[in-house]
Amino acid sequence: MLKIENVTQQYRDVYAVKEVTCELTQGIYGLLGPNGAGKSTLMRILVDVLKPTKGRVTYNGKEISILGENYRDILGYLPQEFGGYSHFTAQEFLRYVASLKGIDSRVAHEKVDGLLELVGLCNVKKKKLKGFSGGMTRRVGIAQALLNDPLILILDEPTAGLDPSERIRLRGILSEISKDKIILLSTHIVSDIEYVANEVLLIKEGELIQKKAPKELLAALNGQVWTMVMNEDDFLKNKQHLKLVNASHLQGQVEIRIISDKEPHEQAVTVEPRLEDIYVYYFGANDVV
């Protein structure tokens, strides 16, 4: 069990992470929050590359920084910024990381080839990383995180740059390997975690505001998600006052999806909430047009 106790990361007067306390047991956790909410900072603390200003992280009762090598031995991590040695081929890079993870070279060779197959890079394994697209590099990053068959897998925006089919493939991989593992993946794209996460952690301005199963979060929003059609002029007039999830413009009319605890209009009808509505409910969506 990974236990986060009162973890705070402060940069002068700014809190990147504020008093976060929670426990992570086996399962897939989705860390959801807008850009700058503190997701990456929290993840960097969890992988022991950043020392929190206050609080501590323990794994099975022992502090992770004291566990050191033993903790890193069961850890897989994909940071938000990941490049890879440009002059190495995908295969060489993964073999290099495998050796750093203390994997025997013979085992590593098989493991590397298997993972390249898993992430769909088998046909380009001899190609240098400098020729890889963003999505391909991201897949190399995912493969390196899985090399040591980690018990704790922390992926910071793993789907950034991946096309829809690759996203689906990643979801499949995560579901497949999630048994006996703690998997934490951060994103600000709701659909990435909608189908795979056992629990969702909502983080806003450094604070953990919710930690619940998606079903529970959705149940809390029952009867608060509405859809209606209104003309464009009315929409533009009232837009600022609405908690808008979506707006589809159709020949002078706009079909909107909004969150409201009261009936917003007599023509409005309630609909089933989705995780995307949860996101707007907690974080807002000022950029919906």
């Binding site: 890193r72 910024e81 990941f82 890879g84 993870k101």
Partner: protein
């Protein structure tokens, strides 16, 4: 790990051109001296490390081996590396080993080039004495020790600041000064003397075995100064790594 780190060094674009340039310049120099007789060749042979050899070694250390310690950050793999089991202290020590092995091979290669071109190709064979060859290898050993110390020193600086340009500026400046501040007018143990000999150039230039007489006090003071440099940088590096949670 070692094999792939060595590959990073060997495949560096600067390595092969540097070796070729050294060979070409040395062939021209020796060919020029060859016109004045084989005695001149022997005299010149012993001055290989004085400028050409030592400058190339300094260049390779600063632009090739040192980069190994800043590459992770440049290529955005630093956090991945630091979250692996052996990616902290073990990797750092392994990279020091890799850099020293690489430089060892370079020094031996240069010595062979020096021997083959100067002695075997241009020398008539009559004047090559055991003493000359012995003195050549003695110089090589001195150069080797200096190179290893400078490699470690630059590696510690680069790893401490995690920046190749900063390392180039600091180490390049001090190493370069030893070529600018030269001459018999320099007072022993003065600041100029420290700048000339203090950043491992005394050893890398092979001066120890070229001097007519060996000043034990001078060597003792330099040995002490080199130890202070290495130990001081090691302590600073340890402190900074601990602060960055890299130990």
């Amino acid at each position: 790990m070692l094999k792939l780190d060595l590959k990073k060094l060997v495949t560096n674009r600067l390595v092969l051109p540097s070796i070729i340039v050294v060979i070409v310049i040395w062939v021209f120099t020796i060919f020029h001296k060859h016109q004045s007789g084989s005695q001149k060749i022997l005299e010149n042979t012993l001055s290989f490390w004085n400028v050409l050899g030592s400058l190339t070694v300094g260049f390779l250390i600063l632009f090739v081996t040192t980069r190994l310690f800043a590459m992770d950050r440049e290529e955005q793999v630093e956090e991945v590396i630091h979250t692996t089991k052996l990616g902290r202290r073990t990797l750092f020590l392994m990279r020091i080993k890799t850099a020293t092995i690489f430089m060892l091979v370079i020094i031996l290669l240069f010595t062979c080039i020096q021997l083959v071109i100067s002695v075997r190709i241009f020398n008539t064979g009559q004047r090559l004495t055991l003493l000359t060859e012995l003195s050549l290898w003695q110089q090589t050993i001195t150069v080797l020790i200096g190179t290893l110390l400078f490699t470690i020193f630059t590696a510690l600086i680069c790893d401490s600041f995690k920046s190749h340009p900063i390392t180039l500026i600091i180490c390049g400046l001090f190493f370069g000064l030893s070529y600018l501040i030269r001459g018999s007018m320099i007072h022993k143990y003065s600041l100029e003397w420290i700048l000339e000999k203090g950043f491992f150039s005394f050893l890398i230039k092979g001066e120890l075995f070229r001097a007519t007489s060996i000043d034990v006090l001078e060597i003792g003071i330099l040995a002490l100064w080199y130890s202070i440099l290495i130990i001081g940088m090691y302590c600073l590096n340890k402190h900074l790594r601990a602060r960055r949670k890299e130990i």
